[in-house]
């Protein structure tokens, strides 16, 4: 087996060998279906779940490739390459990039799902963020999932099965990705040409989030920012420090998401202009202002979401350090997420009692919960930092 995981069409996955083994029978059974034999190892609707950054949509895409390939997912034939590039005519990939999936989008998908494949073996609809389906959209999808055309497959991805409507969930076979082991992430980075020490650091610090690990390995700025974040708790001496630290984290989160959002928005606005022909002379078409307003509303909701995600990464980093402290307080020989800060963290672990560390962990977890409940991110951060300082 190649060092970075599985051969062929599965090579994009990191540390998901058990999942690949679990899916292999389905790939074989799909061939039986095409040969006209019933085989319960395959089914029409799948739900891929797993923690953020574990590679849910890569797994679903690889599965789609393995099914389209006449060789069970060789990785190099035209079908395999097209699926992995997202250009296969019979694999529709719904990439929401932070927006919700509405009922109109789903109606279009349902139409596609009713068609027989053009060049491939299956007609595959891959929804990368099934957790963003509106209830209405999910309902519009139900019938097609329940009674799909003979050669149609639905592959849905979501963080957990709770994120998908129960009616959808119950009609899908669920497969779950694990948090990739640190060693597997490090090996994948090394095979991309990252030096061993840096790969090991990035793999540990990412806590199994592959995208985050790549960013940490690739971008010095990301590493510096993480270091700054980890130094924060030591600087919270009075409420002024806490409020200012919260302000800085919030501002940085806004800048980070601004950069991402601006690029996506530009692309979507150009697509909008093309679609409505507002680039050329003449009156704006009927319906165009409403569509533009809707697009801008979605942009706003995505920005909100991006800010939350960015703040959450900060909280996860802070949590990792406090958990390291807690580990050191019970067993000094354990491997740390922040191994490179061992001396510092040991100091913290000696100066504080475990109950204090637990209160700090609680403060950070409380902040994640507050943000999930829509508390203003700045206010949630202020509360967390005040609690860290007072713990």
């Amino acid at each position: 087996m190649p060092p970075n995981g599985q051969p062929g069409v599965w090579s994009g996955l990191v540390g998901q060998e058990p999942l690949v083994e679990a899916l292999r029978p389905a790939v074989g059974a799909a061939q039986h279906w095409l040969d006209g034999r019933v085989d319960a190892a395959m089914t029409h609707a799948w739900l891929f779940t797993g923690p953020p950054g574990s590679g849910r949509s890569t797994a679903a895409r690889s599965f789609a490739g393995a099914l389209q390939c006449t060789d069970g997912g060789c990785g190099h034939c035209a079908a395999c390459r097209q699926v992995s590039a997202g250009s296969h005519p019979d694999v529709t990939i719904v990439d929401t990039a932070g927006l919700t999936i509405g009922v109109d989008d789903v109606r279009e998908l349902v139409l596609k799902a009713a068609m027989t494949p053009t060049v491939g073996r299956w007609s595959v609809i891959l929804v990368q963020d099934a957790d963003r389906l509106t209830d209405q959209a999910a309902n519009a999808m139900l019938k097609s999932i329940e009674e799909p055309a003979a050669r149609t497959l639905w592959l849905l991805c979501a963080p957990t099965s709770d994120d998908v409507m129960p009616t959808i969930r119950s009609r899908c076979r669920q497969v779950t990705l694990r948090t990739p082991p640190t060693r597997a992430v490090a090996a994948a980075l090394e095979s991309d040409g990252v030096a061993a020490a840096l790969a090991a650091f990035a793999a540990r610090a990412s806590q199994g989030h592959i995208g985050r690990a790549r960013a940490l390995a690739r971008d010095e700025q990301v590493r510096n920012r993480r270091r700054e974040v980890l130094a924060l708790p030591q600087r919270l001496r009075d409420p002024g420090d806490c409020v200012r630290a919260a302000h800085n984290v919030h501002e940085t989160a806004k800048e980070e998401s601004e950069a991402i959002a601006a690029t996506l928005e530009q692309r979507e606005l150009s697509a909008h202009a093309d679609a409505w022909g507002t680039g050329t002379r003449g009156l704006r078409a009927r319906g165009e202002p409403a569509a533009l307003a809707e697009l801008k509303r979605l942009h706003k909701s995505r920005r909100t979401r991006l800010v939350r995600d960015s703040v959450d990464r900060v909280l996860l980093d802070l949590l990792s350090a406090q958990r390291d402290v807690l580990r050191l307080q019970s067993d000094t020989h354990v491997e740390l997420v922040n191994e490179e800060m061992r001396a510092e963290l040991e100091g913290v672990s000696h100066r504080n009692r475990p109950v204090r560390t637990l209160r700090r962990i609680e403060a950070l977890l409380g902040c994640r919960e507050a943000m999930a409940a829509n508390v203003a991110p700045l206010l949630a951060l202020e509360q967390a930092f005040l609690r860290l300082a007072r713990a």
């Binding site: 409420p239 202020e382 509360q383």
Partner: protein
């Protein structure tokens, strides 16, 4: 815009992110154009989809009107190969065309902006005022409409309406058209917004931080009766307590405008804020802001009795003071 200026044969750049102000500038420009040219034909285009052919078409003589206007939106998205043609056009605009190009501010397309400025185009900057400049902006808006507004009244209006400049501009316009030529003071704004619960959210927060539990609760119950949006209430408390913390623990050596900017208020508000910090210590302020965050979570997480969560917030904040109630 009082002064009549040449508008045909010119390219005007509008830069800035305040969408409402951009729209208003475009509308004013269009009005001016129709003043100068009867039945002028105005065309809107998005820069992202602009090519050389489209630009030529937009700026060539119209079949239907002798002169006309062209508005090009989002020139930060103008394709790179169109930078040259647009800058060239800016240097030699068609005499019977009035053109407005819009840039939303920010770093994207900065090179194009600099080249247009280099070509000597007239630029109108429309940035939303920072919170600590909002009162001054309200005063300027009022002056535009021929009304004088006192600084304290502008402040109150800002707090009543919030940071949304579209809403603020509408409020100023309403106030000015109802009281032409008047001098607007605090009483007038108060009378004007009587019964509007939003205006009271900061009052409630300020009474609470002053230790006036009874007064804060009375006003809170009234606001709850008016079905004030509870997130506005927790936001007003957050801003109020946050400012106290920022002022009480400001980095040393700041004063005047710098301090106001650090705290996030107007310089005129500093005196009142300083008064409010009396009776507070670090632990009390931390407790207060913690309680506000908890109340925000209760409101947004769908607490069974949000009104109770608000009362609890008010009482925790007033109870966190160490000194005797002020005022």
């Amino acid at each position: 815009m009082a002064a009549r200026r040449e508008i045909l044969g010119k390219l005007v750049l509008v830069s800035g992110s305040a969408e409402f102000l951009v729209q208003r500038t475009v509308a004013e420009w269009q009005a001016e154009l129709s003043d100068q040219v009867a039945d002028a034909d105005v065309t809107h285009a998005e820069a992202a989809a602009l090519d050389a052919g489209a630009l030529a078409e937009l700026t060539s003589p119209s079949l239907f009107a002798a002169s006309r206007g062209v508005v090009i939106g989002g020139i930060d998205n103008l394709p790179d190969d169109m930078h040259g043609p647009l800058v060239a056009y800016a240097g030699a605009p068609a005499p019977d065309v009035a053109m407005l190009v819009l840039h939303p501010g920010g770093m994207k397309g900065k090179a194009l902006l600099d080249r247009l400025r280099g070509a000597g185009v007239h630029e109108i900057k429309v940035e939303a005022p920072k919170p600590w400049k909002m009162s001054a902006w309200i005063a300027a808006e009022s002056r535009r409409l021929g009304v004088q507004i006192e600084p304290a009244a502008a402040d109150l209006l800002h707090r009543a309406v919030g940071d949304d400049i579209r809403a603020l501009a509408a409020a100023v316009e309403q106030l000015c058209s109802d009281h032409p030529g008047a001098r607007v003071d605090v009483d007038l704004v108060n009378r004007y917004y009587e019964g509007r619960a939003e205006i009271k959210t900061f009052d409630i927060a300020e009474r609470a931080v002053a230790g006036d539990a009874a007064g804060a609760l009375e006003l809170l119950r009234w606001a709850l009766g008016q079905r004030v949006a509870l997130p506005l209430l927790t936001a007003a408390f957050a801003i109020t307590v946050r400012r106290l913390i920022k002022l009480a623990f400001a980095p040393g050596g700041l004063s005047g405008g710098d301090l106001a900017r650090e705290v996030g208020c107007s310089p005129a508000q500093l005196t009142r804020l300083r008064e409010q910090t009396r009776g507070w210590d670090a632990s009390g302020l931390a407790t207060a802001l913690d309680a506000v965050a908890a109340a925000d979570a209760a409101v947004k997480g769908g607490a069974a009795d949000p009104g109770h969560a608000m009362e609890h917030m008010v009482l925790t904040v007033t109870g966190a003071r160490v000194g005797k109630p002020g005022r």
